[in-house]
Subunit: 286 residues, 2 copies
Amino acid sequence: MKIISDIFKMQRTADDLRASGKKIALVPTMGYLHEGHLSLVDEAKKNADVVVLSIYVNPSQFAPHEDLSTYPRDFARDSKLAEARGVDIIFAPEDKVMYPEKELVFVETEEVSHILEGEFRPTHFKGVASVVAKLFNIVKPHVAVFGQKDAQQAFIIRRMVSDLNFDVSMIVAPIVREEDGLALSSRNVYLSEENRKEATVLYRSLNLAQQIVRDGERQFTRVRSEMLRHITAESQGKIDYISFVNPDTFTRVEEAGALKRVLALLAARFGRTRLIDNMFLEVSHK
Amino acid sequence: MKIISDIFKMQRTADDLRASGKKIALVPTMGYLHEGHLSLVDEAKKNADVVVLSIYVNPSQFAPHEDLSTYPRDFARDSKLAEARGVDIIFAPEDKVMYPEKELVFVETEEVSHILEGEFRPTHFKGVASVVAKLFNIVKPHVAVFGQKDAQQAFIIRRMVSDLNFDVSMIVAPIVREEDGLALSSRNVYLSEENRKEATVLYRSLNLAQQIVRDGERQFTRVRSEMLRHITAESQGKIDYISFVNPDTFTRVEEAGALKRVLALLAARFGRTRLIDNMFLEVSHK
């Protein structure tokens, strides 16, 4: 496994791989790898000859009050895990390489970047889309693999790829969960023992929503109330949002209409740790 | 010479060219080619094996009240001129190919896109930067050639390339002028005979500025007054702006300071035709 930190070297490596007919997959991460990231590597290996895993905690997607400085990092451990899983190249640039001067040019998304996560993190998706555009131009992948855990990010990147004609195939891999249902996240290490136990309520509330919708409920304000009641009864989690969107457009859904699938998304804080989760709900059309 | 209108076909052609070791140059235009565009083709040929000329009147860089519908078009003529000058591929997509659905994702530039041209055309550079990003991802050039005539555009694209790490070398070629000094522009065909004669005052005012600065003037408000007086005395042109910027940062310059070169830019309307022009002024440091 190679480790590359220089942009020019990564671009030349990508050019050489492409010239020799190799298919490149990119798995962009902020490191502190867990089984969720590694499942993306598996997906990448199925779809390409060479897997590039990027590890970069991108400052431009954190707001000043957020957890940039305390975001967990362990490059030595990440490196071992990546190699064991079959990663070919780790691309791990430093900040001064990625942002040598104050940026003037950004990739921005209208509408969809200002709802849900974007309402609570107004500049987040601008930072995410811009750094992914940079990584696409540096790693030159044929395929890029993202996790469904960050559903809104996956939607925005998919739209960036189509609107800006990036010649990259997007793969979005399913959420990986702990045995008790908690979605894997690098931020789970922040949770106290008590919060860790309570946080499973998010997954249970999504399952509850699936059950209610399968049973015929078509009004999502009611589904939301049931989820809220459940979470409040079983935990001290503070809900930022519980929302339902059309997965194809990411526009809010209040009534199922003709939709076959609705994406339920939520964000909640346990202590000082903010967690997100989501689930596709199959709508009953009996 | 090949004509390609399909994005997928252009991307596969670019991949094949790159795989066979060919260097690709892109010359992005809105067509209605004149000697200014063709000088960019010459520059492209010097720097690459294959020259792709794109012809696309990009709707997203025109405001609703602007001249999108009347912008001059003549594909047959453009095609002949391009072939005669040695273009290898014309990429000429239709709107429905470039914008199959309402765009959500854009390339936006902060600060510099809202001054000068951006003050009079607030969404112009967002449209320009986004379509150039699209063209870069479709044509996959090693080199892209732009004209100095659109100085602010060239600066913004250069910043887009560095901020988003596009692996493209930028060449900015000098302004081509008519014998009487008028900068070539596809929009010059709009000018009445009288306006056409008067419009040469722009170039003369830039030369006057150069003379004043060479003679030791360091206060650009004074240079501006002289230019304004000259233009007003010799034409009915209505000035949108006369500005002076540091060419490396595109920030406004009021006093020469240690700068060796200052870029003078202006825009003026003759009848209903809006023209722009610019010149690098060599600052005297005697």
